[in-house]
């Protein structure tokens, strides 16, 4: 979930590095968490905050960690994935996170609600509206 929340807001290579920062922050702040049942929402809020800090501190000309070249699927396929991710990152904020958690991280809507602390209704609306916008932007409904 943490990676998905970050990936909705920052470039893909940065998201992997930021996961570490989020867990370090969690370890630092965990004693302050009073309600263990709120852990998911609390963790999500730290991830969102880290992503916002990262984007604020980022200058317009930044080093790109070259992690995209990692071994894995063929470059062509990965290029397509990154292109679609870029489209998602341009959607309104409310839709980005739920779409990334659903389509990248493979969580279901109920799981997203449970883990992020959002209501099921909000997640469902965000998924439906976000998917509609995404279809319009990338013509995903058409044959590949």
């Amino acid at each position: 979930m943490v990676h998905g929340i970050l990936l909705a807001r920052v470039p893909a290579p940065d998201a992997e590095d930021l996961v570490q920062d989020v867990f370090l922050a969690v370890m630092d702040r965990l004693p302050a968490l009073r309600d263990g049942g709120a852990f998911g929402g609390w963790l999500a809020s730290i991830a969102r905050s880290k992503a916002a800090d990262h984007m604020r501190s980022r200058k317009w000309m930044v080093e790109v960690p070259a992690t995209l070249a990692a071994a894995g699927p063929p470059a062509e396929s990965r290029l397509e994935a990154l292109r679609i991710l870029a489209c998602i990152q341009q959607l309104p904020e409310a839709y980005r996170e739920t779409l990334v958690l659903r389509l990248v991280e493979g969580l279901t809507g109920p799981e997203i609600a449970e883990q992020t602390g959002l209501t099921s209704g909000s997640v469902r609306v965000n998924l439906t509206r976000g998917m509609k916008l995404l279809r319009e932007r990338i013509n995903v409904g058409k044959a590949p």
């Binding site: 470039p11 867990f23 080093e63 995903v140």
Partner: protein, 306 residues
């Protein structure tokens, strides 16, 4: 229900969602660096969740890959090399995970700078197509009259032998810069650049012909006649063009552009003509926000010259 598959994976699978899951699933976190452990007593179930997550994350750790380099085929290119295409010949350059560039026939392009996270090309002549996946600002193309800064997108840039050029953006954004002037060009828009005047006024490619022609003349001459033609021909979606006119003018002309902008989009009441004519950055910024180009918000903050 129609979106049941999107919601919880039940019901009839939506082919579009299936395809997105398949393509995007490869971006799922597979490798990362191990966190620096810190000894601390962590109570309760929260600790169990956290430690389980960290353990899973450490178990999939792999080393970082090498730096990005541009290549033609398997041959790596270095800074200073010039790529030239003959008549009927095209060249494709690519950098793993960073992007692809194709140079059309009769083109000339120099790799001016190439280092991790920052690549600068010099397009001297011809047409290039770029698909860039890197973060904004990481890929720059100089032309004789403007610098194109990629803001995460796909675009085509052409330069003629006189050094004039045309930029067509297909997706994302490109910033066109020269001598303190900036043009922000979104998907579907075009921006001309000339040796004499630098980056022009962007307009959408489906804009009325009168507006496109007036934008060209206004960029070169700053004539009030051309400006009035832009304002008169502007549709709601041409507010982007009107905003750029507003930032390239001063005093009364800026006030005229602002007035037209308020007819096209909903500008907050706190933004007054006086503030705009005084050139208050915050007010001009609010006008930009009124364009509804929200996708630009996260990068727009890095620099403002208006």
């Amino acid at each position: 229900m129609k979106d049941d598959y999107l919601w919880d994976g039940s019901g009839e699978a939506d082919p579009a969602v299936l395809r997105l899951e398949s393509v995007l699933g490869q971006l799922r976190l597979k490798h990362s660096k191990a966190p620096v452990p810190r000894m601390r007593w962590i109570p309760g179930a929260a600790a169990a969740c956290l430690l389980a997550g960290v353990a899973l994350w450490q178990a999939t750790s792999v080393p970082s890959p090498p730096d990005t380099a541009w290549k033609i085929g398997d041959r790596a290119l270095t800074a200073g090399e010039v790529v030239i295409t003959g008549a009927g010949e095209t060249r494709s350059l690519w950098a793993e995970g960073f992007g692809q560039v194709e140079l059309e026939p009769s083109g000339e392009m120099r790799i001016s700078e190439s280092r991790s996270g920052y690549h600068r090309f010099d397009l001297r002549a011809g047409t290039m197509h770029a698909l860039i996946l890197a973060p904004p600002g990481a890929f720059v193309v100089d032309t004789p009259s403007s610098r194109a800064v990629d803001l995460g997108c796909q675009y085509t840039l052409s330069v003629d032998r006189r050094g004039n050029g045309t930029l067509d953006v297909e997706s994302g954004w490109v910033a066109f810069l020269h001598a303190g002037m900036e043009s922000f060009v979104p998907a579907g828009a075009r921006c001309l650049t000339t040796r004499d005047a630098g980056p022009g006024i962007p307009f959408f490619r489906d804009a009325p012909a009168g507006l496109a022609e007036a934008a060209r003349r206004f960029a070169e001459t700053r004539s009030e006649t051309a400006m009035r033609e832009i304002l008169d021909n502007a549709r709601k979606e041409d507010a982007l063009t009107v905003w750029h006119v507003m930032t390239r003018t001063k005093g009364r002309q800026r006030g005229m552009a602002f007035e037209r902008l308020t007819q096209l989009v909903s500008v907050p009441a706190e933004v007054t003509a006086e503030r705009i004519e005084r050139g208050e950055e915050a007010a001009i910024d609010l006008c930009w926000n009124a364009l509804g180009l929200e996708s630009a918000q996260w990068w727009r903050g890095w620099r403002r010259n208006w």
